[in-house]
């Protein structure tokens, strides 16, 4: 059972580094309906987005503590009419500013204004390589829009950074995805396998690729690298379900990452609000300094003092800090457990069962219809993941 009563280790402010990375999730609204969306499944319940001035306050206070990389995401951040002024303020404060967008809503006027505001970089996401698959997987007609967005991004002198989330339904198109990346002159290409949070957890059996699919995709990516050299930097990220050790999630809880949700909650990672028994502070009522150094939400899983077995006596605990707290909660029902991706976890079989199922094409769980992210589905499901 979940035991949330353990005392929080007293932290020495002097030893905690600054929140170098600030992720500003400007809105949960999005015109797309991705089946692997990382937003909370019950996002539609949140109201009251932060105002422009409240975002200014967040940016100023985080910058004072030492934040320097700033990402604007969502949902679709282009849906905020004040995106340009928020970016301008971030730029004025000295941030390196990154926009993570589906490209929908980007037009000549807005990209010009963003450039003017000092935006440093745009990451454009695609769902697949063809109009048919892109539009099927996002349940929209957006492929042509994205191609146009790519042209505009280039025309304004931005490096082309393309992201495509990989899963069972598009992994076999990896060649075509690489070709698309090359056609739009991408300099960085992130082929990141779906991570199973939010909507991806709802659709997990339908999305997890088989081992054979993964190996093929990795091989093709490597061959592409050999053939085309360093011109396009390719990052291929395998799903952690296929690993025996967990990822060093967020580089450690409350270590360098700070996420602010559209409604003003401060989180150590963008999925942490699902964790039970933890109050995460609100930026309207707490300063970023209090949030980062003093709040229980940020101190609870910092470092290694909170760990239980098998992590607490594990020689590898500094390598991965026990993995992801959300995954531990979703799968082992205890946010302080070892991430079940680790084969030392007593719940590791709950991961391998899913992996084993993924090897049998067309099994009952896999052929269930995909659930698309949307406000109606969100209210119906009414749960965090």
């Amino acid at each position: 059972m979940t035991d949330l009563s353990e005392a929080v280790a007293v932290q020495d402010t002097a030893k905690i580094g600054p929140p170098l990375w600030l992720l500003a999730e400007l809105t949960y609204r999005c015109p797309l309906h991705c089946v692997y969306c990382y937003n909370p499944v019950d996002f539609a319940k949140t109201e009251d987005e932060l105002t422009t001035e409240q975002w200014f306050k967040v940016l100023r206070e985080a910058r004072e503590l030492g934040s320097v990389q700033c990402g604007f995401s969502g949902g679709e951040p282009m849906l905020r009419d004040d995106l340009e002024v928020i970016v301008a303020e971030a730029h004025r404060l000295g941030y390196y500013t990154n926009l993570l967008t589906s490209g929908v809503g980007l037009n000549e006027k807005r990209i010009g204004a963003l450039k003017e505001a000092g935006l440093d970089h745009i990451q454009l996401s695609f769902q697949d390589s063809t109009r048919e698959m892109n539009d099927f997987l996002s349940s929209t007609r957006t492929f042509d829009l994205k191609r146009r967005a790519a042209d505009m991004i280039k025309a304004h002198g931005y490096p082309m950074v393309m992201n495509c989330t990989i899963h069972r339904h598009n992994i076999d198109h990896i060649e075509a995805i690489l070709q698309l990346a090359s056609d739009i002159d991408a300099e960085y290409v992130e082929l990141a396998n779906t991570q199973y949070y939010g909507w991806a957890q709802v659709n997990r059996d339908q999305l997890l690729p088989s081992r054979e699919q993964l190996e093929r995709a990795e091989r093709i990516t490597n061959e592409w690298r050999e053939k085309h050299g360093n011109k396009m930097k390719l990052f291929f990220v395998v799903p952690d379900y296929y690993e025996k050790r967990p990822k060093k999630c967020m580089n450690g809880w409350g270590n360098i990452f700070l996420t602010i949700t559209p409604d003003g909650k401060a989180l150590p990672c963008h999925t942490a609000r699902m964790l039970p028994g933890l109050e995460f502070p609100d930026v309207r009522t707490s300063s970023i300094r209090e949030i980062w150094y003093e709040s229980e939400g940020f101190n609870r899983y910092r470092g290694t003092g909170w760990m239980k077995e098998p992590c607490s006596s594990c020689p590898e605990k500094e390598n991965d800090y026990g993995g992801c707290r959300c995954q531990a909660y979703m799968i082992a029902n205890d946010p302080a457990a070892a991430d079940p991706v680790c084969d030392k976890s007593p719940f590791h079989n709950r991961i391998t069962e899913v992996v084993d199922r993924a090897q049998i094409a067309g099994n009952a769980a896999q052929v269930k219809p995909l659930i698309y992210r949307g406000p109606k589905e969100s209210l119906q499901l009414d749960r965090p993941f």
Binding site: P18, L65, G66, V68, G71, Y96, D120, Q123, P159, V161
Partner: protein, 90 residues
């Protein structure tokens, strides 16, 4: 390309170098990433402005830090920086 004292390095188009008091260091910022630079890397990179050639950068460093014989170190660092695409060379 081979690097000589006549080479002119410039911090790459997608990179920005700036001093960060919170880290007490120069950092190099780029799309979704950052490197914290040690003192000598920071001092060299901030001089890679696309105007000064390597000879001028070395001279400036040797005066500023009252040092001699920095040429090999500076060239080695610029080579590394070029591989990382931190600088473009002309």
């Amino acid at each position: 390309m081979a690097i000589t004292t006549a080479t002119v390095p410039k911090v790459g188009r997608n990179f920005r170098i700036q001093w960060e008091p919170a880290q007490d260091a120069y950092v190099l910022l780029y799309p979704e990433g950052m490197v914290k630079l040690n003192q000598s890397a920071g001092e060299i990179l901030k001089r890679c402005d696309g105007a000064a050639n390597i000879a001028a950068i070395i001279a400036d460093l040797e005066t500023t830090f009252n040092a001699q014989g920095l040429e090999a170190d500076v060239i080695a660092f610029v080579e590394l920086a070029e591989q990382q695409k931190w600088v473009d060379l002309t």
